[in-house]
């Protein structure tokens, strides 16, 4: 497995997406909608919205992520592209890491665009908190995508994949959601690093464990 193989795969996904912008545009619109819908559901009380804001942001990321990951493997299913990829010499691990990298970059791009919308709708002062928020987003996204990429590959051939995929994935990523929301909340309040640190550590640990395990497990998932 080489970094070159991983990058080649991620580049393929990003290039396809960059040329068609099929997924990204749709997902962006969806994420903005989630932010709006929650605003309507909770009512216009600014204090309540401010309290709920970190949670809403991450529910938005996670729902959009579920859609995005489903798409990422739908592309491979059409014309049996995954089978083609599997025929190439080279490590299956590289295939997993490449897909993961592509998904993470795509989700991060999306999140970078959602942050201004979030600041706008929920009246959040983002500038000061931005480095912390981005770090939390990065760690949370890697953890979510690590399990998500594996499960998406697993459910892509099922008839009931649209249902099975979130059903399997969401309970697994509860720790990611909790830690990311708490971390985001700490940075937004300006509570500083000390309060966010344990949550970021937890996210880092989750990332480490699940990227490693999924890397091995991917082999078993795609074998024929």
């Amino acid at each position: 497995m080489s970094a070159g193989q991983v990058w080649a795969l991620a580049r393929k996904d990003l290039l396809t997406e960059g040329r068609s912008k099929e997924t990204l545009n749709g997902l962006l619109f969806f994420a903005a909608l989630v932010l709006l819908i929650f605003g309507f559901a909770l009512g216009p009380d600014p204090a309540r919205l401010e309290q709920a804001a970190p949670g809403i942001l991450w529910v938005g990321f996670i729902l959009t992520g579920v859609l995005g990951l489903t798409r990422a493997f739908q592309v491979e299913r059409e014309n049996e592209c995954l089978e083609g990829l599997l025929l190439y010499p080279g490590d299956r691990g590289a295939l997993y890491l490449g897909k993961l990298l592509g998904n993470v970059v795509l989700m991060l791009l999306l999140e970078l665009t959602v942050f201004p919308c979030f600041a706008f709708f929920y009246n959040m002062p983002l500038w000061g908190a931005l480095p912390g928020l981005l770090l939390t987003a990065l760690l949370g996204t890697v953890g979510f995508a690590a399990v998500g990429t594996l499960f998406a590959a697993m459910t892509m051939h099922l008839r009931a994949r649209e249902v099975m995929f979130p059903l399997l994935l969401l309970p697994f990523v509860v720790p990611v959601l909790l830690a990311a929301v708490k971390g985001t909340e700490a940075f937004l309040r300006g509570a500083g690093r000390a309060e966010a640190f344990p949550w970021l550590t937890l996210l880092g640990l989750f990332d480490l464990v699940f990227v490693t395990v999924s890397l091995f497990a991917f082999e078993w998932v795609v074998e024929e």
Partner: protein, 224 residues
């Protein structure tokens, strides 16, 4: 002619029945009512044994999953599947018993407490495991996918537990582990723990027997 059940089933059944009856007697009649909580505290004799048996069951799922992926022998998969079903049953029983106890004691069926939420997420993960099995048509592929989920789910348990624990805690820490339990309550609890461990073993032996018969039927059908 292949017999589904093992020779163990009948003696196990008898022992389980006797242990459950003894457990019921010591718990409901033998032990005194709790000084503060009153009669409702007796639910502990069901609640604690079911949750510990469920953890045992999910550990067996993990072992069976690893065993299957390493050896590819169907027996491991049948064991993991059987154990997952019983684990789900026991987890659901735990949550139900806890809610019945929680209503008079805490004043609510449900609270967002660390252990309750962890147990519920466990239930959802292993329900997902069972649904995934049902959704995959190819048997070997389903076994492989399920094994991956069985391994990842088990590894997720400590992370979920830690994250939810930091998130919030209302549940008392384990009285058993702290040694903070009076001998008059401890004896019936131990009897019930043994009884439910036996019940688990009995159900597992039965379910593995059924699993073997299912595999046999499938094999014969394919031969025709």
């Amino acid at each position: 002619m292949t017999s589904g059940g093992s020779r163990l089933v009948i003696p196990l059944g008898v022992a389980t029945g006797a242990a459950l009856l003894t457990g019921l007697y010591t718990g409901l009649v033998g032990a005194p009512a709790d000084a503060v909580q009153g009669e409702v505290q007796r639910i502990m004799y069901l609640h604690v044994p079911t949750v510990l048996s469920a953890y045992l069951a999910f550990t067996v799922v993990f072992v069976g999953s690893v065993g299957y992926l390493l050896t590819r022998r169907e027996g491991w998969d049948i064991l993991a599947h059987a154990s997952a079903e019983i684990g789900v049953l026991f987890t659901a029983l735990t949550i139900a018993a806890g809610a019945i106890w929680g209503k008079p004691t805490w004043g609510a069926w449900w609270t967002w407490d660390a252990r309750i939420t962890t147990t519920t997420i466990l239930l959802l993960i292993y329900l997902g495991y069972l649904m995934l099995r049902a959704a995959v048509e190819d048997r070997a592929r389903g076994a492989r996918y399920a094994a991956v989920v069985g391994i990842l789910g088990f590894l997720d348990i400590p992370v979920i537990h830690k994250s939810v624990e930091w998130w919030r805690t209302l549940h008392q820490p384990s009285s058993l582990a702290r040694g903070a339990i009076d001998p008059v309550f401890q004896l019936p609890l131990m009897v019930n723990l043994a009884a439910f461990a036996l019940l688990y073993a009995f159900l597992l032996a039965q379910r593995v027997g059924v699993g073997r018969l299912e595999a046999e039927i499938l094999r014969r059908r394919l031969e025709e």
